[in-house]
Amino acid sequence: MSELSCKVLIIGGGPGGYVAAIRAGELGLDTVLVEDGRFGGTCLHVGCIPSKAIIHAADAVHALAEPAALAAIGVALAPPVLDYAKTVAWKDAIVARLSTGVGRLLDKAKVRTIRGRAALVDGKTAIAHSDTGDQRISCEHLVIATGSEPFKLAALPFGGDILSSTEALALTRVPGRLAVVGAGYIGMELGTAFAKLGAKVTIVEALPRILPLYDEELSLPVARRAADLGVDVRCGARALRFGEGALHLADADGEESAVAADKVLVAVGRRPRTAGFGLERLDLTMAGPFVRIDERCATSMRNVWAVGDVTGEPMLAHRAMAQGEMVAEIIAGRKCAFDHRAIPSVCFTDPEIVAVGLSPEAARAAHGEIVTGLFPFRANGRAMTKQDDEGFVRIVARNDNHVVLGVQAVGAGVSELSSGFALAIEMGARLEDVAGTIHAHPTQGEAFHEAALKALGHPLHI
């Protein structure tokens, strides 16, 4: 077994791990990254990026297949023809391009990369098993960035026609009938996309409504759109089993029914990847299923760090990246802490949902009296010209000093507004700061401005 030593050893090449590696390399730290797949992790290969590619393709084909909307803007077309295999190839090309890009960035930062499966020996040593043989790597700092994997349901074991999001994104044909178990953001995003691609989609959710992590005001437009698309949403129902081309359900009263399905996508959440690579040998303090970290991403063992999904909710790539960058800086001797006021979250549903900071309910619980302002896209010119004026921007601020605590939005393309929302909150903006910023006309961002004005009691366009 060959021996290798380094300053920083990173296990996992997803957004948390590869960003930590790039930054550590930039800072001149001798860094080794071990990844058994391709660089980019869940996000790049089976998550954010491929799903957005599929959603884009679905939106494109769906837009061309909406005769009424096209007719309204004076366009007449023959029904579009979808070559889904080509769509998937296009998606794979994007993924490959990005993954190669990550590899190049790692090279540029002089990070040594090892393709192989890591097994931890102790807090300073790991063995990387690869095709070219085993390597024993000793390090001063260990960064655990092993990510997460889809949560499994015992009643619906993955395999065959029962898919996780990973397999769903790898399908080369659009299934005729798709049943989706779980109406969280993954289930809603993919369910809606496949419906637009032509599948007959049924979404099953055990809780009383879709997107239960968002308030109902935000999830309602998504539920309405799903209904318009012919998606059969069954809330308050549990999936029992799949067999003979049907997914069997039980409703709240225990009444059973069956939904015909060629494929079943199980999207009931993700769980941290903490087993199978010797993590138990470190005997780290856990926080539930997650590795417990402090505000510096330090675990209970000195110089063992953890970033990304393995450390807890929210399991979001941008959180992992921020953590990875920070850990590299800390190892390089800089004093940092994960002290962000907000981590934006986006649902690429139709319409999209953005939530940054505190919801009205959480803000009230944390700060007592609050003010909110909601501006609907119905009154926004740009939204109308894009043929989609569903949704709104809502701003939440403290009543006493008007400091913005949260911004939520639902509507077409609102994911791009999330940066402005996050910046406002991170900079400690007050309602007056947002109201005092000129927002370009005509854009959907004007709704942010107007929401602040509304919260201050003097909206202009409503």
Partner: protein, 440 residues
């Protein structure tokens, strides 16, 4: 116009001066005849001074806390239709009085000027004094909105990072931005001029609050009396443990039959009786020592001072002639005078003339105290808390209720042997409580 000067009245009983503790009126106020204008305090009593004439207040003879001799000008009132009573023009007279007070106690006058904001009644003569420099706290945290405790400081990510790199906890940096946001300038200023001696408390904000109050009235009386006693009396303290098991049994039995007319008894009435009996054997502890004239006066009567915490501070109301009282009478009388002291209704004779003092902090009794002798008395007996202790008796440990008596004496006239003997007598009486009720 008829300017009338109201003088500090002779409150009686040889009182030569009185302290102004409260003004009910200010310059320019209209007053009615017999309306109280000020409260003044002598050694033992607070007296409201009414005005004998109606009119408008022209000048006040002093500020709260000033001590004025009897007969000096207290207040000047413009009473229309009445002849002038004061030949001197008002401002000069007031200035003279104020200047005189300052000359007598320059340090105190400066302190008074520093601690009081300029107010209407502040004599104009004081305005020429340079303002004292503000306390250090005011300089250290000059600006910025106050942040409620526990609230995260508001700052941009760049400011947060810079603070971390500089080792600055943003919670201590005053923010001048909107909603108290800490700006780059705020942080730079803080780094350039860090407040002195950062605490090692690990993240708890320092409390910079400073409050200066003038010690007036009762508190000043207490301060003076305590300092005088401490300065003059050669204190020594003597602590003895007393087994109160039998006393507590007796007390419990009596209290089991307590009624509205005969309320529950504390330990104190028993001690009162014990002191009466012990004093009979050691009369030198029940005495006054006139150290100016080297005279020790012992008394047959036991006028027992009861140290009492009142809203205004420590007072010592007196139960007179305890030697004439039975247990319940002693209890009642003690309760009555301490209530009177607490409510400020105690008469002058109820606040003077004690010959020996008993002090108890009740539930806060502690294990030992070192009471200060209530001059001119020569002895004070302090009561500590009752505890159950294992006591070696007859070859075994038995749980006994014990209590310490912490007493202090004036060693100039009482020697250790006499003091100890007196306390041992008290102890013997308390330990065998039946003996309290036996005529010798």
């Amino acid at each position: 116009m008829g300017l009338r000067t109201i003088k500090m009245p002779d409150i009686g009983e040889g009182v030569a001066e009185a302290e102004i503790v409260e003004w009910h009126v200010g310059v320019g106020d209209l007053v009615q005849e017999d309306q109280p204008v000020a409260a003044v305090m002598t050694d033992k009593a607070t007296v409201e001074i009414p005005t004998p004439v109606a009119g408008q207040v022209v000048a006040l003879g002093g500020a709260v806390g000033d001590v004025l001799p009897v007969g000096s000008e207290l207040i000047r009132i413009d009473a229309p239709g009445l002849p002038d009573s004061s030949p001197a023009p008002p401002p000069k007279g007031v200035a003279k009085a104020a200047a005189g007070a300052r000359d007598a106690r320059p340090a105190e006058a400066v302190a008074a000027a520093a601690s009081r904001p300029a107010a209407d009644e502040e004599p104009a003569a004081r305005s020429d004094r340079t303002a004292p420099s503000p306390p250090a706290a005011a300089r250290a945290a000059p600006r910025g909105a106050p942040r409620p405790p526990g609230e995260k400081p508001l700052a941009s990510p760049a400011v947060r990072l810079k603070a971390r790199e500089a080792g600055v906890d943003l919670r201590f940096v005053p923010g001048t931005g909107p909603a108290g946001r800490v700006t780059h300038d705020d942080l730079d200023a803080f780094i350039a001029h860090p407040p002195d001696a950062p605490g090692k408390g690990g993240g708890r904000a320092r409390n910079m609050a400073v409050e200066t109050v003038k010690i007036v009235g009762m508190r000043r009386r207490i301060a003076q009396a305590m300092a005088e006693s401490s300065r003059r009396v050669a204190h020594f303290s003597y602590v003895e443990e007393v087994d109160v098991t039998a006393l507590e049994e007796l007390r419990a039995a009596l209290n089991a039959r307590a009624t509205a007319e005969r309320p529950r008894l504390t330990v104190l009435p028993f001690l009162m009786l014990a002191i009466v009996k012990a004093v009979a054997d050691f009369p030198e502890v029940n005495a006054h020592f006139d150290d100016d004239n080297d005279l020790l006066t012992t008394y047959g009567a036991v006028h027992l001072g009861i140290a009492t915490q009142t809203p205004a501070g420590l007072m010592v109301p007196v139960v007179r002639h305890v030697e004439t009282l039975g247990l319940n009478e002693a209890s009642r009388e003690m309760r009555r005078v301490s209530e009177a002291a607490r409510h400020g209704t105690a008469l002058r004779e109820e606040l003077t003339g004690s010959t020996i003092t008993l002090t108890s902090l009740g539930a806060l009794g502690g294990i030992v105290s070192t009471p200060i002798v209530n001059r001119p008395e020569v002895a004070i007996v302090g009561v500590n808390r009752i505890v159950v202790k294992p006591i070696w008796r007859d070859g075994a440990f038995t749980p006994r209720k014990t209590m310490n008596l912490s007493s202090s004496f004036d060693h100039r006239v009482i020697d250790g042997h006499g003091a100890a003997s007196f306390i041992q007598r008290v102890r013997a009486l308390v330990e065998a409580p039946a003996s309290l009720f036996i005529e010798d």
